[in-house]
Symmetry: C2
Subunit: 419 residues, 2 copies
């Protein structure tokens, strides 16, 4: 008998019929003799509807009240799933984030979990009940106010609960049935991975694989909670995310997959005087605006001008704000350029460490496909390049084929996941 | 400077635009220098939508989970009103029933308030904030589970909070602008009352006046909280419900109004052996099924048969259940009859005590209108009769005219109120 935490995304819960299907799966797990804790996201479009309503009432709604509003969504879905479970003859009890002991930082709208004290959940489990915990929400320690956890918050709730309850596994259910070697919508023979290490999953999530949010993988790795990525609509066992890359014997270490990302924009500051502190000035200004920078490139200065260029990428949604800030700075730069027609393609895999030719193969594959590289960034187990966004699909296919990541069958196509 | 508790019904909050209008009124009250605590019902049809969804997921949903689901409605409306208040430049803070210290009995779906400990609300008031409390909900003492308060629960929340905070007045806002001498949809010149005593309001509420729920009037009377019934859409001061009937000088005591009720059904048990305990048997069975009985009539037994008939009325929605129970009992009765084409019309007023001819005038008015009386029930300050439902409007008009309750102007028509 194991203790299993299951997390269901919003699209798996978007109607009464889907809620009943999810409930059936939960009851089945319980009938197999396991203890089950379930974390549900808000149903389908609930969150968007709330945001729209709030916008009409106040275009700049106070964050505390926004959290009070949004957390209603998970209460609704959890209560409905509990009712559905009851109809299948099992006993269920739902908990708000606060009742489940999810304690967070003060920051409304984007709080972090600081502790989970699931005493009431454990009690209910001991009585043989299936426990449902509202995802994406907690209560802050100082004022006991309701908080939300930002993007990926329900996954974070599930992983944190799994850690606190010493669960055997945390299953993440969505409409994706696992982690693939590439997006099956782009690469027809993309292969589902049976297993992937935390480090590889972190790299994949960081460079655009949307199946798991970076923060929940980080959390799972820190507390060593095995994750299983599964589909709500199939019996497939999905992909197990667990263990360290170090545990994989060198001979078995392979390349994991190709990820891509269309969500970034590129900003270039031209003609920067080549003095110490000029780059710091740029990055401090952007950091103060809480804009995350991803890739960075600084050209060496041309000998005749004593000026240099700095290029960086950041989320597209923050790019115009970054532009405003940089244009508004009184600095002796020649120009600030903006480009949102870029895409990033990455190759990830522990095998990279033991195969020295990977970078060369990578660049050759893109050259053969006629794709021009604008920026390169690497880690120990990853290579990422910035290219034109129109060439992204072609690049993903070329790399996937070059490194022979494909399977023999066509993959089932997946869509995006909820929060 | 006063402390004012305001309660807004669901129809006053059914859209973003109405929410902003309500917020404006709240801020205006605050700007007049008062402390303001607001209790909001769920927006418009939210509760019905939740009930429909629950029904699809589980036709017999567990009560605890139903409460978790339904209480989301008031969280949503309160957070939105708080946001709207913020947009008008005032500071607002919303509270769940639990955060506001609304403690209830265990019973899910129909809990009673046992105590209110509004420490956090008082703290926020002291900081100059407008406080919003989610109506219709609380938390039970033993298990700290979320409960709902049943019909009229938001009014009850408002009155209980007003009592606990020693508020000067509790204003009940809906689409009705006061308590009328009769339903203005039936009686064109029905008059809005400026003031009515608790006892009279209790009788009016008990016999069908829908503007206030019986339980909130009982609560207000017990804690001596003045109520003011007002409309969300006008500046009219509405009707003040306060003080005891005893305080009204005899010479000024008048008749308050005519109320009617279409929500009851009549059940007659025929041919009951005229032995002690037969009536008790009937009423115990109905009481055990938690069905409230209103009027009761027992005919004297006919000399030749030694059998009698008992007639009673109960809510129409419970009538078929009552029929099943009575038909299923092994008793020596001749028949059980059912009639849901009945209506009740009542005259209420403290003046009844000092005017002995009221009952005679009442019966004559109905006789002159050609209305047949099937059942009569009276209290110290009320006369109610059961008649055919098709004759209800005619009877209301006849009584209203006979006792000269009308004003000179035509009344504005009102609709039903939310929970």
């Amino acid at each position: 008998m194991a203790l299993i935490v299951q997390k269901y995304g919003g699209s798996s819960l978007e109607s009464a019929e889907r809620i009943r299907r999810v409930a059936e799966r939960i009851v089945e797990t319980k009938r197999q003799g396991h203890d089950v804790v379930v974390v549900c996201s808000a149903m389908g479009d609930t969150t968007d509807e709330f945001l729209e309503l709030a916008e009409k009432v106040n275009p700049v709604p106070p964050a505390r009240e926004m959290d009070m509003l949004l957390t209603a969504g998970e209460r609704i879905s959890n209560a409905l799933v509990a009712m559905a479970i009851d109809s299948f003859g099992a006993e269920a009890q739902s908990f708000t984030g606060s009742q489940a002991g999810v304690l967070t930082t003060e920051r409304h709208g984007n709080a972090r979990i600081v502790d989970v004290t699931p005493g009431r959940v454990q009690e209910a489990l001991d009585k043989g009940r299936i426990c449902l915990v509202a995802g994406f929400q907690g209560v802050n320690r100082e004022t006991r106010d309701v908080t939300t956890l930002g993007r990926g918050g329900s996954d974070a709730t599930a992983v944190a609960l799994a850690a606190a309850l010493h669960a055997d596994v945390c299953e993440i259910y969505s409409d994706v049935d696992g982690v693939y070697t590439a997006d099956p919508r782009i690469v027809k023979n993309a292969k589902k991975l049976d297993r992937i290490s935390f480090e590889e999953m972190l790299e994949m999530a960081a460079v655009g694989a949307k199946v798991l949010m970076l923060r929940s993988v980080e959390y799972a790795r820190a507390f060593n909670v095995p994750l299983r990525v599964r589909s709500s609509y199939s019996a497939d066992v999905g992909t197990l995310v667990s263990g360290s890359m170090e545990d994989i014997p060198v001979e078995e270490a392979v390349l994991t997959g190709v990820a891509h990302d269309r969500s970034e924009a590129k900003i270039t500051v031209q003609g920067i005087p080549d003095n110490p502190g000029e780059a710091a000035k740029i990055f401090r200004a952007v950091a103060d605006a809480e804009i995350n920078i991803d890739m960075v490139l600084q050209n060496i200065s041309k000998l005749d001008s004593n000026r240099t260029d700095i290029t960086f990428t950041c989320p597209r949604e923050d790019a115009s704000r970054a532009m405003q800030i940089l244009k508004g700075m009184s600095a002796d730069w020649q120009d600030v350029l903006f480009d949102d027609h870029v895409g990033k393609v990455s190759l990830v895999g522990a095998g990279m460490k033991s195969h020295p030719g990977v970078t060369a193969d990578f660049c050759e594959a893109l050259r053969d496909a006629g794709v021009n590289i604008e920026l390169i960034s690497t880690s120990e187990i990853r290579i990422s390049v910035l290219i034109r966004d129109t060439e992204l699909d072609k690049a993903v296919r070329a790399l996937h084929e070059k490194f022979q990541l494909g399977g023999e069958e066509e993959a089932t196509v997946y869509a995006g996941t909820g929060r």
